[in-house]
Symmetry: C2
Subunit: 566 residues, 2 copies
Amino acid sequence: MQVLRVNTEKGNITSHPLDAEWEHLGGRGLASRLVAREVPPTAHPLGRHNKVVIAPGLLTGSAVPCSGRLSVGGKSPLTGTIKESNVGGTAGQRLARLGYRAVVFAGSPEPGHWHLLYISPEGARLEPAGDLVGLGNYDLVAALREWYGRQVSVISIGPAGERMLPLASVAVTNTEGQPSRHAGRGGMGAVLGSKGIKAVVLDKPSPGQVAPRDPERFREALRGFVSALRTNPTTAKVLPTYGTTALVDIVNEAGALPTRNYSTGRFEGASRINGDTFLRLVRERGGVAGHPCHPGCIIRCSNVYNDAAGRYLTSGLEYETIGMLGSNCGVDDLDAIAAMDRLCDDLGLDTMEVGAALAVAMEAGVLPFGDSRGMRELIEEMVQGTYLGKILGQGAAITGRVLGVRRVPVVKGQSMAAYDPRALKGAGVTYATSPMGADHTNGNGLGGKVDPLGAGGQREYARFFGLAHALFDTLGLCWFTRAPFLEDRRLIAELLSGFTGREWTTGDLEAVSARVIEVERGFNRRAGFDRAHDRLPEFFGEERLHPHETVFDVPEEELDAVYGGA
Amino acid sequence: MQVLRVNTEKGNITSHPLDAEWEHLGGRGLASRLVAREVPPTAHPLGRHNKVVIAPGLLTGSAVPCSGRLSVGGKSPLTGTIKESNVGGTAGQRLARLGYRAVVFAGSPEPGHWHLLYISPEGARLEPAGDLVGLGNYDLVAALREWYGRQVSVISIGPAGERMLPLASVAVTNTEGQPSRHAGRGGMGAVLGSKGIKAVVLDKPSPGQVAPRDPERFREALRGFVSALRTNPTTAKVLPTYGTTALVDIVNEAGALPTRNYSTGRFEGASRINGDTFLRLVRERGGVAGHPCHPGCIIRCSNVYNDAAGRYLTSGLEYETIGMLGSNCGVDDLDAIAAMDRLCDDLGLDTMEVGAALAVAMEAGVLPFGDSRGMRELIEEMVQGTYLGKILGQGAAITGRVLGVRRVPVVKGQSMAAYDPRALKGAGVTYATSPMGADHTNGNGLGGKVDPLGAGGQREYARFFGLAHALFDTLGLCWFTRAPFLEDRRLIAELLSGFTGREWTTGDLEAVSARVIEVERGFNRRAGFDRAHDRLPEFFGEERLHPHETVFDVPEEELDAVYGGA
């Protein structure tokens, strides 16, 4: 497999074989290693010394179902830490099947010099993209599909990325060619924007999957993996039906649904934005529940959400978006949330950070909670660049500071996900100790054996899921395939043994995970992050959360022990 | 001596004797120790766990000339580090002669509950100050002098402090009762605002100075100290004549005068804002050059600056203000600068951080360089609270981030002083390694024996001045009295021996300094700062500065060695 290197300052492209020592790495594990080795930890995230690494997982492009994940890594302009933002869609498999384990963007072109990177089996080239500047992701992809053909897969940024807003996402097209899958967190769209890259167009690779080294063993392991996914109730029933929207009721019931800027854990309007409402509206309007974000997905948690007239509105409407733009902003109208999801996807914005920032603005009195029309206007302002839009466009932490709000749900400058850490304390430990700011994708606190309201056991819980997530993100496996892994880790070890042709033990899996976290935390240490940054904001420890009337009280020593301190 | 403790949340006041181990500490040394002991390093700077310590120096209130300095300490909302902001004026001597070595404000009252603290020889009391909210420092002090009598000395915040802007200053009245001396740096006015304290009114103490323990030895040492100040050309001639405005020509000549957001080191309009122009205008208009900021100052570097009609405009117009609001914003009109100085003093804003933030806004295209009228309007907007004003009111770092400017002259979130570190590299080392962000008051790079354009020797230089400054700020000595100390440190040791009645060696002085820095850096370490934060912004190392065409190239290892690394 090759590493493709694009320097947009010099305008050149090179490629070289992946380092032998990293042969069995992909996705997050590879992206984080490349960033840690090549980016000076104190570099300005939007300057010439930062890089963007786009890396499909190790298994991505193979026959393993739900293995199409793609990692986008770099130093985050939102947090200042190392960042890997993970996304589905069709680009990961394409890139892998085109023969690339990573694409690395470097340099810093003159402002206003925009390019797109076109990759086909014949190779890669930079093309001028000045004409495409200003286009939203939907219009952009439509134009690129017209130009290059409907078969292309596209990675792109919207106007938010062009403006280098630290909540800008990187969009990836789904199976219908819609740019609705987003590497949302940490502002990687801004870093891609700083490299002057508006889009990466991936043409059809030569036929065939990425082949395993030991086909027989691989096939056998695959059978066990698929069978586990098809029998587990979450992957076989809940996710294909409701997608992640099922979480609205679950988290609300747990008293952890962020509501009106994390001021209570139960939302009185939850039933109007929950999984049942979602499913009813999807069915009434000819939408799709149980939609795959990439070929070969057998879980199909994604969806197509139509408007009241039955026209396509958005796809991949997720729980985190519903939580952050919905209950957390006091919005109980699923259509309004879906419309904002579409708008954010089009402008290239992280729906979660946007929701957190807007709720902070609501607390500051900029607009009332529940005013979804006002929210839409403010989202537009972020890319129009009014002063208020510029403030909000920096994310929740800066919004809080500039507007004078002290109740701001962030760690390391990144907003939390849609789980209040006072009622799901494991999520709080994850937020605090993730190498990437308050990021739930390093494991949250739901459904485990640990009492979510207690301080005990959360450390081990967060560590377990944090390590598991690092593994899945390295392999390119969707996190929703974790059920078989949690039951029997040998399933994954077997898959890898068949795929790579060398023997993997479950201990090897742990070593991979541990090393990823170590590399990331090492980068962060050199960038100036230590245990003092592994903390939740003060108010979570002091302000009681209804209905459980709990505060976040996991001792600091426990936080420091998750990964052995800084 | 007593420590006065004011909890504005509980509304109570207590006092207790100073800890015996700290008997020979005052000013910065005492403030930093109290903050490091009592404030959790990760506390929100504007929350209930932060404190404000107001502490006169050890010698303040004694017969030592130029010893009236006052320290204002706490955790800074601008930098997140520990902070000591140092100020002249009459309050330091008052406080010491009223018997207090420190006043400590704690707690966090309900929003909108404002008080003033009144201190007289009979004791201290909190009084409601709701009626005074919204007043600028000038009107406030006029009202307080009417109420309490013209004899009072006042420490206060303006509307910027009420709004808790992290560039809000703490004002202190000068010998004429004008609130023109400011503890400007680090936003201590915001922290005082967070405690709901609008003013501290200091009534006349009982007659007499703070007495030395060994009067004879003290008198003798004093004679040597005074004689040195009266014979040194800087303290005897330059400063009494020009004040610090003499620096405009010197720094411009050195090619280090920040011009148009640190884009060149020479300002074509320097002669219109330099010491000679200053002196001519002061003399023509009946102003005063050679004005003391507190009784007993024999250097008298301050001034009274009248407008063209001969009416009082401002006092204490300083080089740093001229550099940051003048050349750095492309303004070559001393009257315009003086008017902005007055406006900042009235609103309670740090002129340096304001100038840095405005220049960044100019680089972003918000207004043209040189537009002093537009600058005045924007300064007003900071306290009016328009969205642009709110952005600027957060200081240069946030302004740069929100407005999308990467050339932002800050370290640890605080703007640099009026010395470009590419042409005065010692200043750069100081900015990088000061425990308080880019703060020149820890030693700058002018007038030493080290080549200011070379990378060599700057480490030792910055360390020497950093330590010396910590000593002077602890004793309450004005930094301008350093000349005798630099020639013979025994002069200060003798003064202290006479004052305290125990033997001081020059080694003791070094130990005091070293311990202050150690305490401050220790706090910062626990607050999450390490060597990665002891760095200048990227562009200073890459963009050549005219006229010397130099970059800041002091190696990182040298920076880390200044105080022995983090």
